[in-house]
Symmetry: C2
Amino acid sequence: MPVRRKPAAITAPLNPRAICAAALKLIDADGLESLSMRKLGTTLGVEAMALYHHFSNKGELLDGVTDLLLDEAEPALDGDAPPLERLRRGFHAVRNIAITHPRAFWLLAARRFRTPRALAFYEHLLQTFRDAGFDAHHSARFFRLAGGFVIGAGVAEIGSRALNPDATPVVLEDFFDPEHYPRVSEVVPYLRISQLDDIFEYGIETIIQAMQRHLNSNRDGARTPRGRRKRK
Amino acid sequence: MPVRRKPAAITAPLNPRAICAAALKLIDADGLESLSMRKLGTTLGVEAMALYHHFSNKGELLDGVTDLLLDEAEPALDGDAPPLERLRRGFHAVRNIAITHPRAFWLLAARRFRTPRALAFYEHLLQTFRDAGFDAHHSARFFRLAGGFVIGAGVAEIGSRALNPDATPVVLEDFFDPEHYPRVSEVVPYLRISQLDDIFEYGIETIIQAMQRHLNSNRDGARTPRGRRKRK
DNA sequence: ACCTGAACACCGTTCAAGT
DNA sequence: ACCTGAACACCGTTCAAGT
């Protein structure tokens, strides 16, 4: 049974959240670059310019989509587990966005620290750092270390999954030419999609161990991981 | 003395490298999103469509610009220093691109593993991993760990430096509202531009220590950093 | 081989107008 | 308040044509 034209227009007047949800759907299907106000309007059964009544520009709409991604990741920080374990789950949750929304994941890399929603996410994350026992200085350091890795690794995984749209089409096999690129061809098998869970796990565990080590050594007498004493 | 119109057209016929260099200059000045074939053509004193004689599309041109960035970073891997030290310098060199070409740095995050130039860079990098004593499996793991952090932290630094063009304008001071966001306002001072060197240094040193520890424990008897024995 | 110029099928956004 | 429609100033890219 064929779907009727403009079904969304029947159901309700537009609202920002529904618009963002539709935008995310379009991004998941066709990619971030292919999302346009015109296409999104058509999907919603409305002229493109109607959207400007709900968002002052496209950037604001993308911020709204980013907020939806944060909604998916943030609950991982909740629960009764020890703080460091909750942080671990939070990092995995963000990385999971790269798997479930590979074409939207860019938003997390490109558009952060903007909306109240994003601030609330960071507040929750940094509160968990504090619960774990980090002071503000080391919260910043490990936030950047873990956050940088999670975002960078996520972006790299998208690349591995070959979802970058206007990419020069290079098949994975091109990297297996041991004649010209012996080291690359040696390592690439370990970066296959089937290995990416292991790769990410290893990275994030290494970082969490460093965090644990810092907390331990701090308990034993206020020393940094490198053994230097802090003095002002 | 005012510059004459269309100076580049006088000097020589176009060539890909010169086009990419001009493109990088435009990106540095006006941002990646603002680069268009038309503007680039005008800068070079040529119709936009002339560029298609040298690149089959815009993506190929951007790959060429990316190659220029790699040219800047790769020499850091050379020298007589121990391999791990050369890797350290390489990571810093990539991060320096985020500082010297903040608006072009996205290319490193978004468009990798494509051109022969990029393959040669990775070959050099992975050869240095091997020189340090890593097998292919752990080269992949630490490559992703360090590479992910360097790219993710670089992208985050661009955000801190507020160079994202269509950003919802949120001043840094908004994050200092201890009423609503006590943890964020506590940590943000440590993420100021003046602190970013320290933040990056701390992250990359933590990773290099993990690499060193892996190499040491491997010398002591084929154990992973977590003390598990490897068995096929 | 290298470049031009018109054209096509798109963009985001403004603005005046409708209901 | 919410949406339309025409218009503006752009895009990347194709194509036939010039030299």
